[in-house]
């Protein structure tokens, strides 16, 4: 394992400290427990948005703290959900008196820890709602499983719910918007290489030069199946088609297309994938009305990408277009 770190047990602290120094105009970093909140604190009367989860997915979530998006982010250890004693004060920091929405990716650890934190905040008199993001079509959603994972679609939920909160929607309305985004967004990912969690020190799985993992999550776990390496167009097809079919995209749909890098893939390759994913969508009659290409929800240095499609409506488009000013997303 070669990484630009000093000590596996200090990497999250040092990285978040560096993040805070680089973006002091946008965020304040709190330590012990560690969380990131907007510089200047919560805006009175605005619904607060808090997200968090294991580290290693940067820029998610701290990179999305700022105007028009999150009010606070809680980074856990690498790939490990943060604890309630960090989520609770972040919730307090995000509260402007109009309640707080927790945006939680659907992993047992995240769900449980946010649940406990919500109870703690509730005991402090803060009204908390939660939306569970579960956009990953690679995983079967049933009562007999842990359900679909939350992956790159989280960016869309955070951006659009953030815009709704910023324009003054109340907690119920912001929650409803977040749920609408989640209901209309789907993703699927591929890994060309694994990643190495610093405290593990070895890659999370081994792939030969001729193999890839399809249907991966964002925690270095193996995917649904291992298949032979294929040209970008074929891989893009394998990612895009399940997403489109699960969403039932067709005819007159307007969509947002997000091609997300897993952290170690050159931008040039993401645009190759984007080009083909877009063609596939257009081939079904859909219009790609908005696009995002880059590293947004990563798995450390993993090579690979995910394709996310969000079905838009006028309101979602307006909220997507609304101003955002964070370290990782800005317009």
């Amino acid at each position: 394992m070669k990484k630009l770190i000093n000590d596996p047990s200090r990497v999250v602290d040092e990285s978040v400290e560096g993040f805070g120094l680089a973006h002091a105009d946008l965020v304040a970093v709190h330590t012990d427990p560690i969380f990131v909140s907007r510089a200047g604190g919560a805006r009175q009367g605005k619904v607060g948005l808090v997200s968090g989860g294991g580290s290693g997915h940067e820029p998610l979530h701290a990179g999305f703290v700022g105007l028009g998006m999150l009010d606070a982010a809680v980074p856990g250890a690498m790939f490990t959900s943060p604890t309630p004693d960090a989520i609770a004060p972040a919730t307090v920091a995000a509260n402007g008196g109009a309640g707080v929405l927790h945006i939680v990716k659907n992993y047992t650890g995240d769900v449980l820890n946010f649940e406990t934190a919500a109870e703690l905040a509730d005991a402090d008199g803060i009204e908390v709602r939660s939306v569970i993001v579960n956009d990953d079509v690679a995983v079967e959603d049933s009562l007999y499983t842990a359900g679909r994972r939350g992956v790159a679609g989280t960016v869309a939920v955070e951006k659009i719910a953030g815009a709704a909160a910023e324009r003054g929607d109340d907690l119920a309305a912001v929650t409803a918007i977040a749920e609408r985004v989640n209901a209309n967004v789907r993703s699927m990912g591929v890994a060309l290489s694994a990643c190495t969690v610093p405290h593990a020190g070895v890659p999370s799985f081994e792939l030969t030069e001729a193999e890839i993992e399809i249907g991966i999550g964002i925690h270095g776990e193996p995917g649904r199946r291992r298949i032979p390496m294929a040209p970008a167009d074929e891989i893009t097809e394998m990612l895009t088609t399940p997403v489109i079919e699960d969403l039932g995209i067709g005819g007159s749909d307007q969509v947002l297309l997000l091609v997300n890098g897993m952290g170690g893939t050159p931008l040039s390759e993401l645009y190759v994938v984007y080009r083909t994913a877009r063609r596939i969508l257009e081939g079904r009659g859909a219009t790609v009305a908005r696009s995002l290409v880059g590293n947004y929800v990563t798995s450390l240095e993993m090579q690979g990408c995910s394709v996310t499609v969000l079905r838009l409506d006028d309101e979602l488009t307006t909220l997507w277009d609304a101003p955002v000013h964070t370290a990782a997303l800005r317009w």
């Binding site: 790939f79 959900s81 650890g109 820890n113 649940e115 690679a138 007999y144 776990e221």
Partner: protein, 213 residues
């Protein structure tokens, strides 16, 4: 009958085992999970050991509840809430009794298992630590009913735990991150299940060592 001393021996052994096996438990979780289980458990139980002398030990049940609070607040991931709940429920079951009977200990273990089921929305057969914990609770009840002594009981529990942990190898994970790999989760033991087996074996040995002195 067991008292504060015995409970402390058990908890200290659990904590030390978690710290000592950080790498092993992490590697188990890495096979089809995300590899953080050993790290999470070690960091959490480290905190328990660090704050050891300050834990409220007015009664075994109170002590267990305090340990549960440290764990829930300091261990991230799935393990914090799940293990925290187990300690909290066990502690609540014991109440503020100074000395506890075998039946009470068995009830506490059962409560821990039920707590995890509720919290984790999971059950026996999902390939989690419940596949060791529930057989453990069953076996403890049997041994208590049979009137076995501590030594016999712990040996029986060790055997049960190890066998149950090995048996998770053939299961398909239905809960936790390992479940995302579906069929591919078959063929390796569950990390939480095996950790519990190792812990029970260590408790058995620690008990023997203490009894010898």
């Amino acid at each position: 009958m067991s008292g504060q001393q015995e409970v402390e021996l058990v908890v200290r052994t659990i904590a030390q085992t978690a710290v000592d096996n950080e790498k092993y438990f992490g590697d188990l979780d890495a096979v089809v999970g995300d590899g953080d289980f050993g790290y999470s458990l070690a960091r959490g139980f480290e905190k328990v050991l660090e704050g050891w002398d300050d834990l409220d030990r007015s009664a075994p049940g109170t002590f267990l509840k305090k340990v549960g609070i440290v764990i829930s607040s300091r261990i991230g991931g799935t393990s914090g809430p799940i293990w925290g709940t187990a300690f909290l429920r066990a502690g609540a079951t014991l109440g503020d009794a100074q000395e506890v009977t075998g039946e009470q200990v068995a009830a506490a273990l059962r409560a821990a298992a039920e707590g995890i089921k509720a919290r984790g929305n999971s059950d026996v057969g999902d390939k989690t630590l419940l596949d060791v914990l529930v057989p453990l609770a069953d076996r403890l009840e049997q041994e208590v009913q049979a009137g076995s002594d501590a030594r016999t009981t712990l040996e029986a529990l060790s055997t049960t735990a190890r066998e149950a942990a090995e048996a998770t190898k053939d299961m398909i994970a239905k809960r936790g991150r390992a479940s995302y790999t579906g069929e591919r989760s078959r063929g390796s033991v569950d990390a939480g299940a095996m950790a519990l087996a190792v812990i029970v074996e260590q408790v058995d040995q620690a008990w023997q060592r203490e009894a010898l002195r």
